[in-house]
Symmetry: C2
Subunit: 216 residues, 2 copies
């Protein structure tokens, strides 16, 4: 069976899936999607047969077709449980904690982190003007979220205990971008969160994703 | 072990967890949280020891403490797999499809459904003025999402195949509210989605949640 990831390499949601594939030491084919042409490829067939919402990434594993990066990652972690890094748990109680912190990433961390990435990383790359009011508001929101993370990481090295899990992994793409912006100062105000960020960004699997992406 | 749900009965995210508990035929203790007092209980101790983000519901099963309604539901469905309605699958490929549509509910359906519930259901209850521009924008957004659901439900009776799963269940609280507003017309424009909504809202477990809630 061939695993295929359809996306543009610069898309954070694609990097999330690639990080998981590299942690699991799985081979995959990257199928580039031109998201910036006049009629972007992800908004038309054949892509929308893979994801009817027209969002990257889309994913294939043999005849299985998936979309939504976090659902794809949960599938990879579960279907290839015996390969590479163990990212989830069989025990329902241990897995429940991973489930909670995956939801926290998606619902608490991702919204301010996405706004800040857009304003401070993507807009400058495209020569567009950053909205300072949005930055101020979203930095304050992110700081509140990281206050909770700081307390959490006083209890254990990673979000769900003493080992790296899918809940940590899902943070990587936006974390990498944000640490290259002024938002790093917000992290620096949270020493345990900063140490966690440095630790997970240094993982060999993530470095491979960064290397793949730098060949853009 | 005693299952406890800490929330206010009117909170949609609490109803999502109650729907799951009733489908699984599990007993639980409902611990009311006064969310509308001058200093709301969910923003202070002891509640924030259960959920540091200060959001309902919080959940206990013996010594396990969880928050985030969708993570709680996945735990219930997994830990009590042999009770009541089967809501998830062991097979990773079948479960992956449930994972995709749970993400679709959380990321595509929930945002416009939450806005519309606030503007058209909650604000009138509180005697506040509905923002018509927000309603127009979010109805258009919801219609686009339901276009995809309409195609999906041409393939199978429920979102993930021929049986009701956690992906369908997670829609219930906001669906119930929206069908009592003008947004019902948006559903009526999508006949398969309408039939699905009528079907899942008629489930005995959901009717029990509505009955519990009507005792407010």
């Amino acid at each position: 069976m061939t695993i295929k990831v359809h996306a543009a390499l610069f898309a954070p949601n694609a990097a999330r899936v690639l990080a998981c594939l590299h942690e699991k030491e799985l081979n995959y084919e990257f199928v580039p999607v031109n998201m910036i042409s006049r009629v972007p490829e992800h908004k038309q067939e054949p892509f929308i047969s893979l994801n009817p919402f027209g969002l990257v990434p889309a994913f294939e594993d043999g005849d299985l077709k998936l979309f939504e990066s976090r659902a794809i990652n949960q599938y990879i972690a579960s279907a290839y449980a015996d390969k590479g890094t163990q990212l989830i748990f069989d025990d329902p109680k241990k897995m429940a904690i991973v489930g909670v912190w995956m939801e926290v990433e998606a619902r608490q961390y991702d919204p301010p982190a996405s706004w800040l990435t857009r304003e401070l990383y993507i807009k400058p790359l495209l020569g567009k003007v950053t909205n300072k009011a949005v930055v101020k508001e979203q930095e304050a929101q992110l700081a509140k979220v990281l206050d909770v993370y700081e307390s959490r990481l006083a209890q254990s090295k990673y979000l769900c205990g003493d080992t790296f899990t899918l809940a940590d992994l899902n943070h990587l793409p936006l974390l990498d971008h944000l640490m290259k912006t002024r938002v790093k100062a917000v992290f620096d105000n949270h020493p345990r969160v900063s140490a966690w960020a440095v630790d997970i960004l240094a993982r060999p699997a993530w470095k491979k994703v960064v290397a793949v992406r730098s060949n853009l």
